[in-house]
């Protein structure tokens, strides 16, 4: 005899009960409509192209630029890193689930070459700011560095004697023959160490995004082929991806010439899921920090939370309109994504409200929708990993799942959260 879910436990009385019931039925926080699917898949594709640059350059900075005191050319990625085969795409991949090529995406190469302005030397593109906005990637990295302590063991390891010894060896090797920098290191050892910790987060985020880029490309391809037809399918694809690479090592290596220095060795046992993905979602989707110059906060009026865990300035809470101001991280990303929108999404934006004039805002809200779907995938993956299958008929297990979903939704009860807004199609 089969029993339906509703007959086993009473309905939720949570303010977001509709969404909780949807999650319990295997759905996403984002309603399943063809328009939502089109928007999120289009934006995943537009996100994957700059992400293909972000991960490569993050690893280039962590592994090669390292403590260069004047890193003026850190965004001038080397050919080796642009050609570096993605570990999770291409025929030589460690795990061949996603069909993309290992090489940098052709649209990315074309953009590096021509930008918005046209073909000219790289330095001119850089100075004209006609390039991929790596500052966005660095802002995400800094959010992870600053919040820290969000689960996993990465943060504790950065304070360990083993890490300090490894970093010391790397710093001394990097500045070998440079008495000025070695002298400064002797005078201010903890400052150098803190910079290396930051570089370890560059590596962490680079290794995280190296996986996400082929996942998003694959989703876009499946949609184009008519093989991904609903929002829950898109979410489930992400859930499976999260599990598939959960055990990927998170490490930090420094290369000086051909010599490799292991600052965080793979043998430390850090994993993609625990030390990168979950802290990333917490730091970037939920917490981050208020952007300078966008709004004044009165700490005495409790407008800034006392505890870092209560920070709520991530994309899930963002008011995308003021965020669209120049120079702040999400706008940098929106600008990056604007270059790689698939034609169907570009046409869609052109037909709404102010058409191309508010394309960045529309794109930002689409991105918000798409990240609610990614967050749904993370919530479902955690439920699957730590709790019970959705078709589990044991009422105690179902109630444990319910409590977990309700606790997750509690985070969106604060007025800044956009969960309510994304339920509506006219929120653009």
């Amino acid at each position: 005899m089969t029993t339906t879910l509703k007959s086993v436990i009473p309905p939720s009385t949570h303010p977001f009960s509709d969404i909780i019931h949807r999650l319990e039925a295997g759905g996403s926080m984002l309603p399943d409509t063809p328009e939502n699917l089109m928007q999120i898949i289009g934006i995943y594709k537009a996100y994957a192209v700059p992400m293909d640059f972000y991960w490569r350059d993050l690893l280039y900075i962590a592994e090669r630029v390292f403590l260069n005191p004047i890193p003026a050319f850190k965004y001038f990625i080397s050919k080796d890193y642009l050609d570096r085969p993605n570990s999770y795409a291409g025929d030589g991949a460690d795990l061949r689930i996603w069909r993309g090529e290992a090489d940098a995406h052709p649209e990315l190469r074309e953009f590096i070459d021509r930008g918005e302005t046209g073909k000219m030397p790289k330095l001119w593109h850089h100075l004209w700011h006609d390039r991929v906005n790596m500052e966005f990637a660095e802002a995400c990295m800094r959010a992870m560095l600053w919040h820290q302590g969000m689960g996993g063991q990465f943060y504790d390891y950065l304070e360990s004697e083993e890490y300090i010894a490894n970093a010391d060896r790397a710093i001394k090797a990097y500045f070998k023959g440079n008495p000025l920098m070695l002298g400064l290191y002797k005078l201010f050892p903890t400052m150098f160490l803190e910079k290396v910790r930051e570089l370890s987060y560059y590596a962490n985020l680079g290794l995280f995004w190296e996986v996400m880029a082929p996942v998003f490309f694959e989703m876009s391809d499946l949609y184009d082929e008519g093989k991904m037809t609903t929002v829950p399918e898109a979410m489930e694809f992400l859930v499976n991806g999260i599990f598939a690479v959960a055990g990927r090592p998170i490490y930090h290596h420094l290369y000086i010439g051909d010599e490799c220095y292991e600052i965080i060795p793979k043998s430390a046992g850090f994993t993609w899921l625990y030390e990168a993905a979950l802290p990333y979602v917490e730091a970037v989707f939920y917490r981050t920090a208020p952007f300078r110059g966008t709004k004044s906060y009165n700490a005495q009026a409790n407008q800034v939370p006392d505890e870092q865990k209560d920070f709520h300035y991530g994309i899930l809470y963002a008011d995308v309109f003021p965020v669209g101001s120049a120079g702040i991280p999400p706008t940098l990303l929106m600008q990056d994504m604007l270059h790689f929108l698939p034609p169907y999404l570009k046409e869609f934006y052109a037909k709404q409200y102010r058409g191309e004039d508010d394309e960045l805002i529309q794109l930002g809200i689409t991105f918000q929708r798409s990240m609610y779907n990614v967050t749904s995938a993370v919530i479902q993956a955690l439920r699957a990993a730590l709790l019970y299958p959705l078709d589990d008929q044991n009422p105690r297990h179902q109630m444990a799942n319910r409590k977990f979903f309700e606790a997750q939704m509690d985070r969106f009860l604060r007025p800044e959260a956009r969960l309510k807004s994304i339920q509506r199609q006219d929120y653009r």
């Binding site: 460690d94 689930i97 959960a246 055990g247 090592p249 046992g269 850090f270 625990y274 730590l386």
Partner: protein
Amino acid sequence: MCNPKLQTLHSKTLYAYHVDIAVSNDSFSTLVAAVQAAGLVEALQSPGPFTVFAPTDDAFAKLPPGTVQTLVQNPPQLGRILKFHVLSGKYTQAELIKLGTVVSLEGSPIPIDGTEGFEVKNSTVLAADIEADNGMIHVIDNVILMG
């Protein structure tokens, strides 16, 4: 609760015990392969004592495609997940239920529930209190994960 077929098996070590089980009823071939891949054979052959929550092959098969492959490619990461299934000390079902929460060799806590039968985190124990020379084994129906 205990599977009588499993109770008849004896060996000198937990690891060998797993091998015996694997050979006799083929239920633990993934776990045995994983322990080998992670290089934990020697550790599990030490005097211990240990308590091992041993997931069956069916438990590993429930994981989405690619999960086990990625872990097997990366022994330290696999070792960490496996250590989450091991406790230092020899604990019976009754002792574990009384404790409520235990700390794994990996360092993360494992909740134990005895409300209905014997549950270890989100897994159900299929066969409990299987004695080995250097510890105790409880067979579980899910791979358990930290968090």
